[in-house]
């Protein structure tokens, strides 16, 4: 299992705790990650709203780079993942668009044919490595820890293009959480949006949308929230204080993790290697509980 690792703007700029945890854990599961050169932003949502062609160009050039490397590409951001999938679909459906894209890619010494496939982190972990592949490597079971799964909108919708998980009843991230010995259960708000794409136009509403979900998660007795998307994470984790203020709930306290961070703890990696020092939400309690069980 070898993939071209596509970081995306958010991960490489400030969510590199996620990156650290991915680089630390995936090789332990037999997944080889190869860095990509020459890449750029995927274009979503930066360019898609103002120039669809420009957006597809940006995604296509990154796919073309993976093609050149002869590898399938693993993006670390839900948004980038959806962007690549939509671009593959758009270029297949419109030969004219593909022609324009390639005409320009040529100037950059690249070519897009569509042979590089895109995988999602959840797919790699659940479908490729598999639950057994993970649980047999678990050194520290996350006993007694209840975590809420938040796969994120752009991992599961739209179901006509994405086959990562069921759009209305996604269960793969739950299964992955359980593979570590932790507990999880369905909750009504699981497939709700974090609202982060709204931030660019309406900051306050974003915080309220995100806040409702965090309040729900807390009310069900979860010890924390787990996600695989840096946009979602940034909202729930990085902006939790602002969310508390916006919804006027001083008691809101939800530890937020990237899945690969708790995966790393279960596999025996130290918190620093997993970028846990970068989580802004109050994760120490859960982390100590997990590590406290380590004999």
């Amino acid at each position: 299992m070898k993939y071209a690792l596509y970081l995306g703007c958010t991960v490489q700029s400030d969510q590199y705790g996620f990156e650290a945890s991915v680089r630390e854990t995936l090789p332990k599961l037999g997944v080889e990650l190869v860095d990509m050169d020459d890449v750029s932003c995927c274009g979503f949502p930066a360019l898609s709203s103002v120039s669809v062609t420009g957006w597809h160009y940006l995604s296509a050039r990154n796919l073309a780079i993976a093609e050149k490397m002869g590898l399938d590409v693993l993006p670390l951001c839900n948004g980038c993942h959806l962007s690549f999938i939509e671009t593959i679909h758009a270029l297949e459906a419109d030969p004219g668009l593909k022609e324009i894209v390639n005409r320009n890619l040529e100037k950059e010494g690249l070519h897009y044919e569509g042979t590089a496939k895109v995988v999602h982190l959840i797919e790699v972990l659940h479908d490729v490595v598999g639950v057994e592949g993970i649980s047999e490597k678990v050194k520290t079971r996350l006993e007694g820890v209840k975590l809420a799964a938040h796969p994120g909108c752009h991992a599961i919708r739209p179901s006509d293009l994405q086959k990562v998980d069921d759009a209305e009843n996604p269960q793969k991230l739950d299964t992955l959480i359980k593979a570590l010995g932790a507990e999880t259960f369905d909750y009504p708000e699981k497939i709700d949006c974090c609202g982060s794409q709204l931030a660019v136009s309406s900051g306050r509403s974003t915080l309220k949308i995100a806040g409702e979900k965090l309040q729900a998660v807390q009310s069900y007795g979860f010890d924390g929230l787990v996600t695989t998307c840096p946009f979602c994470f940034k909202m729930y984790d990085g902006r939790q204080r602002a969310i508390k203020g916006a919804i006027g709930d001083r008691s809101l306290e939800v530890p937020v993790f990237y899945y690969t961070q708790i995966l790393g703890l279960a596999l025996g990696s130290s918190p620093e290697k997993l970028g846990l020092q970068m989580n802004q939400s109050p994760v120490d309690g859960v982390v100590n509980k997990i590590l406290g069980d380590d004999e």
Partner: protein, 434 residues
């Protein structure tokens, strides 16, 4: 007079066609694949717009079929081969073994009482259980027990045989075999009915994940006095009495995405009927129907809906719900909707949600169409010779269609069509007879 007529399907349409033909002196073979005639109408609580007890108005006709000297009912039977043409169809019918001697069984039900094996009861829409040996429902015609061999301990493991020990009439016959019979008929009437769309694929509604999101047919059994709860609205998950009920229209219909694009024709009326049933049981209950349009064209239908609103207080909100959620603690359901008349985006908490599902074609239509040499449309319904001028004839002379086998329609229409096909069949018998 003419040769007998074959009627395939023992629901209300098949029953009506058989009676019309028999009353004018023709012999009829009524072939039904389940252990009893009656079809879906026997499962309903009441009929619209009259609010008659469904089985009460159907049972007399079922019994008439049974007693009529000109009608032979073949249950547990299906048509496996047809050759020939009008006036002279050679038909092969396969009868599955009931494992009970029909001439001896008195329908007393003791075998069923003592049978140790419980199975989901399909006739009660899976809401309760029956035994491996069972009588399909209390008003079944014929009122004879039947062994479900797939679940019977004797047939699966060679043990038990309690039923034959307790049967006072000595009617149990484990040796009974499948039988193939040959029929010689002048014409064939197809009246095989419909099946309910399975809304599991509409994940946003939570059917099959949330026990208290049920289909219309499940609701009919729930609210019916002969149902698993004796007609009390005890919801499936925790038995809580449902005071607040939401009906969701157009589930599986009017959709180019999942489900079917057509309108299922009867759902606006049956939702209203079911809503009124709830109100009749408990006037203080809170009943809301979430609809797109109210397609209530038939005789007395608009007045029926008007009364539901003005007299019974059933609420109608124009808006197709976007999502249904379940509260993990209380199990109560929340329906997300927009009242498109006012633009209000809101949520409504209810105890029970009824999905008004589409009537779709039966999968057996495919096999039957092949046997009969008939065409099915893209949704598996039988095609008429001409949808406007010859809606109950097919392109095979001597073969006629009525009822829901060729698309969604209500009971009055199905009955009228049944009489129409009976007239066609009688004419065919006359023309080719003697």
């Amino acid at each position: 007079m003419g040769k007998p007529v074959l009627v395939i399907g023992g629901g209300v349409a098949g029953i009506q066609a058989a009676l019309d033909l028999a009353d004018r002196g023709l012999k009829v073979h009524l072939v039904e694949k389940s252990p009893s005639i009656g079809g879906v109408m026997a499962q309903l609580d009441k009929t619209f717009p009259t609010m008659d007890c469904s089985i009460c108005i159907l049972a007399p006709k079922m019994i008439e079929c049974f007693r009529h000297p000109n009608i032979t009912i073949h249950t547990l039977s299906k048509v496996t081969g047809v050759s020939g043409g009008p006036g002279d169809f050679k038909v092969k019918v396969l009868k599955e073994p009931r494992s009970v001697d029909a001439s001896k069984c008195t329908g007393c039900g003791v075998c069923s009482e003592k049978c140790p094996t419980k199975v989901k009861d399909e006739w009660q829409e899976g809401l309760t259980e029956r035994k491996a040996i069972h009588i399909m429902f209390p008003q079944a015609v014929p009122l004879i027990a039947c062994i479900d061999r797939d679940n019977c301990l004797y047939f699966q493991k060679g043990i038990c045989q309690v039923c034959s020990k307790v049967c006072q009439a000595g009617a149990i016959d484990y040796e009974q075999k499948a039988e193939e019979i040959d029929l010689d008929v002048s014409s064939i009437i197809v009246a095989t009915g419909f099946q309910e769309y399975d809304p599991s694929e509409l994940g946003e509604y939570g059917y099959s994940r949330f026990e208290d999101v049920i289909t219309a047919k499940e609701f009919e059994r729930l609210v019916c006095a002969s149902g698993p709860t004796g007609g009390h609205l005890n919801r499936p998950s925790d038995g809580k009495l449902a005071h607040r009920v939401a009906f969701v229209q157009c589930v599986g219909s009017r959709s180019h995405q999942k489900g079917y694009p057509f309108c299922s024709s009867v759902c606006c009326m049956y939702a209203t009927k079911e809503a009124v049933l709830i109100k009749e049981h408990e006037p203080a209950s809170d009943v809301t129907i979430f609809y797109m349009d109210l397609k209530v064209f038939g005789q007395g239908f608009q007045e029926f809906v008007d009364r539901a609103q003005s007299h019974w207080g059933v609420k109608y909100i124009r808006g197709r719900p976007g999502e249904i959620r379940r509260n993990p603690v209380t199990k109560d359901l929340t329906v997300w909707y927009e009242n498109t008349d006012t633009g209000e985006v809101a949520e409504k908490e209810v105890d029970l949600v009824v999905l008004c599902t589409t009537m779709i074609s039966r999968p057996e239509n495919k096999e039957l169409a092949d046997v009969l040499g008939l065409e099915l449309d893209e949704w598996g319904f039988f095609e008429p010779l001409d949808p406007v001028m010859n809606p109950i004839e097919t392109d095979k002379p001597g073969i006629f269609i009525c009822g829901c086998c060729h698309g969604p329609r209500d009971i009055p229409e199905s009955v009228a069509e049944a009489s129409g096909t009976a007239a066609c069949a009688a004419e065919t018998a006359r023309r080719y007879g003697q």
